[in-house]
Amino acid sequence: MTTTTAAASADATELTRALLTAADPRRRRVDRTMRILIWGAFAVAMVPLVSLVWTVLSSGFGRISLDFLTLSMRNIFGGDPSGGIYHAIAGTLVITALATVISVPIGLLTAIYLVEYGRGALARAVTFFVDVMTGIPSIVAGLFAVALFTLILGPGVRIGLIGAVALSVLMIPVVVRSCEEMLKLVPNELREASYALGVPKWLTIVKVVLRTSVAGLTTGILLAVARVIGETAPLLVTVGVTDSINFDPFEGRMMTLPVFAYRQYSQGLATCPGGESATCVPDIAIQNGWGAALVLIVIVLVLNLAGRLVNRWFSPKLR
């Protein structure tokens, strides 16, 4: 009797062991293959991205100096290694600031409309076309700005304002999207609590909703700025190029960092009759291009990091 139960239990054990260790080799293989492929995809993607960052850092760093950051390219010709990107930094900051001034009120108010008021066909249409607008190619935005100002100011005008308008077309949908997300995060209980105290809706929005989400909104706006500050093509067709410092977006051409990098690159090698010397470096234009690229990438990184840190440090704990 005991021997049969013992045998039966031994059988059951064997059976269970077989069940629990029965790994289907095909499934195992597929699982392992996919794991390798997914790790591989990651590794493959890291190669160009790391190479890109490394190249910009190593090629641009040698050109960075106080002169490079504080001088313009006025009266700099050929392989002359003096001169710098001050005019381009100034232009980038002025134009981007102007674009931000145009975009943020419109974008923020549109986001408020979508979250707080939006209902029905209009809201659906706005949501849909904001999505569509995020896909507008930057060069098309540039052409639009040119077309608009050609009708107002006549053909051939190149001023910073046109570039700012072009950037705004690209920036507004990004601002709307990110602000919308942030406003949606504000819990409805807060709004209802405010209404229950007899606060009118507009004050609730200004004092409760915006106040609560201000960190998130700042982040969204900073990321939107980072997104457009590196735009090249729309500025190439709207603002033109110059070698001089110009702070006035309503008068005259301006240089911007990305356009500067592109222009320097397309100038190619300079001819130095006496060979390479302190006053003539054949590949100075390309060096300038890398230097401008490095400054640009640093600005973008700083904006991104600032955005994240603002959100992490200042956002209220909602959950």
């Binding site: 591989g40 076309f129 098309v140 077309a147 009118p200 690229a293």
Partner: protein, 330 residues
Amino acid sequence: MTTTASGPPVQAPARRRTRRRTTDRGFNRAFRWIAVGSGVLMLAVLAAVALFLLVQAWPALTASEDDLAASVPRYPADTSLLAYVGPLVFGTLLAAALALALATPVAMGIALFISHYAPPKLAQVLGYLVDLLAAVPSVIYGLWGIFVLGPAVLPVWEWLGQVLGWFPLFAGTVSPTSRVLATVSVVLAVMILPIITAVSREVFLQTPKLHEEAALALGATRWEVVRTAVLPFGRSGVISAAMLGLGRALGETMAVLMILSPGFLYSFKILTSAQHQTIAAYIAADFPEASGLAVNTLVATGLVLFVITLAVNMGARAIVARRKEFSGAN
């Protein structure tokens, strides 16, 4: 389409609300109108983009072939505007399609890696890194493409040309400068990689834990969990991510402008130079020096690009909307 959409619905919901809520007075009303006004302004901006492009493109659209040939540089005689734009559209689509084909699988791999395979600490760092890379300006990708990637992939292109030369894409003389559409496509792929990855990762992370655990409890391996729970849930998100990437690739200007040696042919030879050009790069290259009818012609090509990207974007939204029933986002 955009102009008609912004017409009637503007007032309809607002009017209804005023009637219902009689206490809506003073600042409340003013504030609401400002907010609604911004929404309408959004639509107006998009309509204006289309309208102004059309207005500026009109002279080129209506000009005779001879006028165009006379005033537009590189405009062949006896060609309609459509036949002129054709190769540009072809080049644009080819470059973007190749970039998308290269980038999507890799981006999905990275997104899955970050969302389901990597250790959580590493995943968070990688998430930030991908977001940062999405913000790298395109002019920098252009510099990198021409100085680093081009020379690096040249041996690969030469090998492809030798071994797979019978295949239409790799036919023709392999250009020794690497300024060819294949290189452009790789750069574009690298550029749109972070965008597709960022969106897909968000979607994959939103997969309900419940569904993943359901698959696990049925005895699924990690890949099977991904296949049964994560991918079906994220499918529409991945499609819209890919479309977003496609839109970016279609409209990307600087990298193409800096790398590609342009040509105006219907050609599949992506390893040969002087075959292709994209609309965006063409505009950027010629616009600064253009005047008169040439400007109008460039704006007309820009209008074509605008329509293409608009169609791609709307298509993406439509796909996402149609898949709602099975999306699980009830």
